[in-house]
């Protein structure tokens, strides 16, 4: 029998038992009065009263109010009314408000989905009717089928063997024989598995094509955390799906009842607004203006992958109107030991449009040969950098996105081969060379070392 709640409070409050009785009593009275006020605030009929009501009246109104609520809620009218603070259907709603999840019941024998809740359509984008009667294994990632089978059956699991001794932290040997105990009603399960879901993407192509909007459905897998318990059902209670599934010999049927939850994005998001600050990126030119290095940030502004620019002359991209000015600056920087600033000029992006840049140029002179080894160009653009992942529709591929794209492509197939065919500019190279080229351009940033660059937008979807 549990202690009464007031004793609980007493126990918690009781500091050293030295408090004068009158103090304790006063505190109790105050608490009661506060509670009465709180209660009055909750009752609609009490609210509009301008004067404060006495205790008894408040209590009487509370009783009336609760009685009136009883009439309103349907659950109270049920024949098999079981008093609980919240009826089950409301509890279910609360659970769904807390977690993105769905309830499912699968037969242990063959993995048939006996039941799945409506909320599954919001999470996996499959309708309930599509799933009921199907095998769960059709919706689980092929590589996780074995794991789910283990969890549904008793055979290969030896939990006791792999337990840790609380005192030493060392593993202990199995004490109890593993058997059907694992499969008995009430036995709990908790595991992760990847489930299929349909991702609906609405692509919007803004600048480059006349506002066409396409809907693309692609199949993906998401990681679902399943927790639940084993339940045996008497055969006669099941519908047609169950009967086919049930063991013909026994009159009972074993199922797993579980809630599957998709956890929110794994890594904590950076809160706050996306700060728009001028983007800086670094490039290097040979004496003749040919690109010898391009910082990966350039891709978000210029659209080109670093590889696409290397070896080409910067003059191919400068706007005609800016050529005289930039040529003049170029000559100046080769002769000067100082940093030279350019005016704002236009640079042609991959897609034909122009972006406004402003650069600071500096010649790096080799101390031994005394010749200009390269020109370092620190370029600033006022344009908002395109956040990787979102603009994939427009074709702009951010170097970090390459990884995301490749990972996404390979993710579902778990192949360990680098498939570069789909990535522009890299298809022609061998795997090694291509990988090297990408890595080199990503890593070689002499000028950037030591600066903290804001890369928080790099999302990795699972």
């Amino acid at each position: 029998e549990t202690k009464s709640a007031s004793n609980l409070e007493e126990d918690m409050e009781d500091n050293q038992g030295r408090e004068p009785h009158s103090q304790i009593e006063k505190r109790r009275r105050d608490k009661m009065n506060n509670l009465i006020d709180e209660l009055a605030a909750m009752i609609p009929t009490c609210n509009p009263m301008s004067r404060k009501l006495d205790k008894l009246t408040v209590l009487r109104m509370a009783v009336q109010h609760l009685k009136s609520l009883k009439g309103a809620t349907s659950s109270f009218a049920e024949a098999n009314y079981k008093p609980a603070f919240l009826p089950d259907d409301e509890l279910k709603h609360l659970v769904l408000r807390a977690a993105d999840g769905f309830l499912f019941v699968v037969g242990c024998d063959r993995g048939k989905i006996i039941f799945v809740s409506e909320s599954v359509s919001k999470i996996l984008n499959y309708s309930r009717t599509e799933l009921i009667g199907q095998s769960l294994f059709d919706y689980v990632h092929p590589k996780d089928i074995g794991k789910v089978k283990e969890q549904l059956s008793a055979s290969e699991l030896y939990p006791r063997e792999r337990l840790i001794d609380a005192k030493t932290g060392l593993q202990v040997q199995a004490e109890l024989p593993v058997g059907a105990a694992r499969l008995c009603s009430g036995a709990r399960r908790s595991f992760f598995c990847r489930m299929k879901y349909i991702k609906v993407i609405i692509k919007e192509e803004k600048d480059f094509q006349a506002g066409a909007s396409k809907k693309k459905e692609s199949q993906r897998y998401c990681t679902v955390h399943c927790t639940g318990y084993m339940r045996t059902w008497p055969k006669r209670q099941l519908g047609t799906e169950g009967e086919a599934e049930a063991d013909k010999e026994s009159s009972h049927f074993s199922c797993l009842v579980a809630v599957g939850r998709v956890h929110p994005h794994t890594l904590p998001q950076a809160n706050g607004e996306i700060k728009v600050k001028p983007t800086e990126f670094v490039t290097r030119y040979a004496m003749d203006g040919k690109f010898t290095f391009v910082d990966q940030q350039a891709t978000t502004i210029l659209g080109y992958l670093p590889q696409e620019l290397l070896g080409t002359s910067c003059y191919e991209y400068f706007h005609l109107d800016d050529l005289p000015h930039l040529a003049d600056r170029h000559r100046k920087v080769l002769r000067s030991k100082e940093k030279i600033e350019t005016n704002c000029y236009k640079f042609k992006t991959k897609y034909g449009s122009f972006v406004t840049l402003q650069s600071q140029w500096f010649s790096f002179i080799n101390p031994w040969t005394k010749e200009v080894e390269y020109i370092v160009s620190t370029n600033t653009s006022q344009q908002v950098p395109i956040i990787p992942g979102i603009s994939s529709a427009s074709g702009m591929i951010y170097a970090g996105c390459i990884g995301t794209q490749i990972a996404n492509e390979i993710m579902d197939f778990n192949s360990s081969q680098l498939d570069l065919e789909g990535v522009p500019g890299l298809g022609a190279l061998s795997t090694d060379e291509a990988a090297m080229a990408v890595i080199m351009s990503l890593l070689e940033t002499d000028a950037n070392l030591g600066e903290a660059v804001d890369f928080d937008e790099l999302h990795w979807s699972l």
């Binding site: 918690m12 909750m42 509890l91 699991l157 939990p159 595991f191 607004e273 360990s416 990988a435 002499d446």
Partner: protein, 406 residues
């Protein structure tokens, strides 16, 4: 006589008081009966608790006062009761100021304290003081103007709550309660109270509340559920170096357990996850238990594997000092996936983390270039292949530099 008069007045007031108390008790009794709780519970409640529970009940009605009552068939209704049992933990609803407006009945299975012991009280009375600040932050919900981006409503944090359950399942007095770590996940929700109350035309402001699923983290010495073959156990010293690893790791990640002994687990974390994992470790050491969420670990031959880990600090029973850390690691994706990306240097942190299968030539070449960049001091995790080559080249470069000096 004056004395008699006074005496009679005192008697009258005593009688009045008694009668009032009597009426009060009657009303309290009636109120208790109106609560949707079993009679054996309601008949033992004291007055303060009756009010507490009534207030919470009414607050919950307000929060659920929406049109979510879809038509359910009989099968669905039957299954409604399964949700709670399927969860590993209990449900809790907190008001904006931290009152535990609702806790599901199974709270007693995790915490010892019952639903009606706790309902209506403030969470701050039952949670560890060092966690209060974090808790307050979780309760805040800024809806912001239409221009600013809406704040994320997801909540995930670790909270220590009073637990009166012993490891053997017995209940102790609240004074002997211990702290139990709960992983609380859920959402902040805002409930519009559409009704206009009374004739005054007074519309109530929207209610902000936090609805959470609170799950204890299983202690590794007492894991109820079977662990499948895609899980492995590991033990670490307090500085996170491996002191033991289950052999299952070999088929999942390629390492032999011996490969890992005495190596810091940080060497195997993906660069982009290391910040988050460092925070998780802080939680672990502060609170005693933590879970990591999904993160990447370097596999032996390159590539990363997605893992979720439950970590527990094991204390020496004699002196209550932390002794070691035991991790239950669930491997979520164990095919080697290739990722190429970069993260610019942040002073003092990892330089770049990359992972791919490259030939030895490519590794050496890369190592030379890294050496030239002059920043070999900050490299923590690069990828096993690259790192080993790089260090070899570092040795060469250093040797060259020495010669040059001389």
């Amino acid at each position: 006589t004056v004395n008699e008069h006074l005496k009679r007045r005192k008697e009258k007031s005593r009688d009045a008081a008694r009668s009032r108390r009597g009426k009060e008790s009657e009303v309290f009794y009636e109120l208790a009966n109106q609560l949707p709780l079993p009679h054996n519970v309601t008949s033992h409640l004291d007055k303060a608790s009756i009010m507490r529970l009534t207030i919470s009940y009414l607050r919950m009605r307000k929060l659920l006062n929406s049109d979510e009552s879809e038509k359910e068939n009989e099968v669905e209704s039957q299954l409604n009761s399964f949700y709670l049992k399927a969860l590993e933990g209990f449900l809790m609803v907190l008001s904006e100021d931290g009152d535990m407006v609702y806790l599901s009945e199974n709270v007693s299975k995790s915490m010892g304290l019952s639903q009606f012991d706790l309902t209506g009280h403030s969470i701050f009375e039952f949670s560890h003081p060092c966690d209060h600040e974090e808790l307050r932050e979780m309760l805040v919900h800024r809806t912001g103007s239409k221009k600013t981006k809406e704040q994320n409503t997801e909540r995930s944090f670790f909270l220590r709550m009073k637990c009166t359950l012993t490891s053997r399942g017995r209940t102790v007095n609240i004074k002997s309660a211990t702290w139990k770590v709960l992983h609380c996940t859920g959402h902040v929700r805002v409930q519009e109270c559409g009704e206009v109350s009374g004739d005054s035309g007074f519309k109530e402001p929207p209610l902000t509340y936090l609805v959470l699923i609170c799950e204890p983290i299983p202690h590794p010495s007492n894991i109820e559920v079977p662990l499948d073959s895609k899980t492995f156990l590991s033990r670490h010293t307090l500085d996170m170096k491996f002191s033991y690893c289950d052999e299952r790791i070999t088929e999942l990640m390629g390492y032999e357990p011996d490969d890992l002994l005495n190596r810091s687990v940080y060497e195997y974390y993906h660069a982009l996850d290391s910040d988050h994992l460092t925070k998780t470790h802080h939680n672990l050491f502060a609170k005693g238990q933590a879970t990591t969420g999904q993160y990447r670990m370097l596999a032996k031959k390159g590539g990363f594997v997605w893992v979720e880990t439950q970590a527990t600090v094991i204390y020496n029973p004699k002196n209550s000092q932390p002794q070691c850390i035991v991790c239950v690691n669930y491997v979520l994706r164990y095919g080697f996936s290739l990722q190429i990306f970069s993260k610019p240097l942040i002073p003092g942190k990892q330089l770049y983390s990359l992972c791919c299968e490259m030939s030895q030539w490519a590794c050496s070449h890369l190592a030379i270039r890294l050496g030239r960049s002059g920043n070999h001091q900050h490299i923590a995790v690069i990828g096993n292949l690259v790192l080993s080559h790089y260090l070899t080249w570092c040795g060469h470069i250093q040797a060259k530099q020495e010669r040059y000096k001389n």
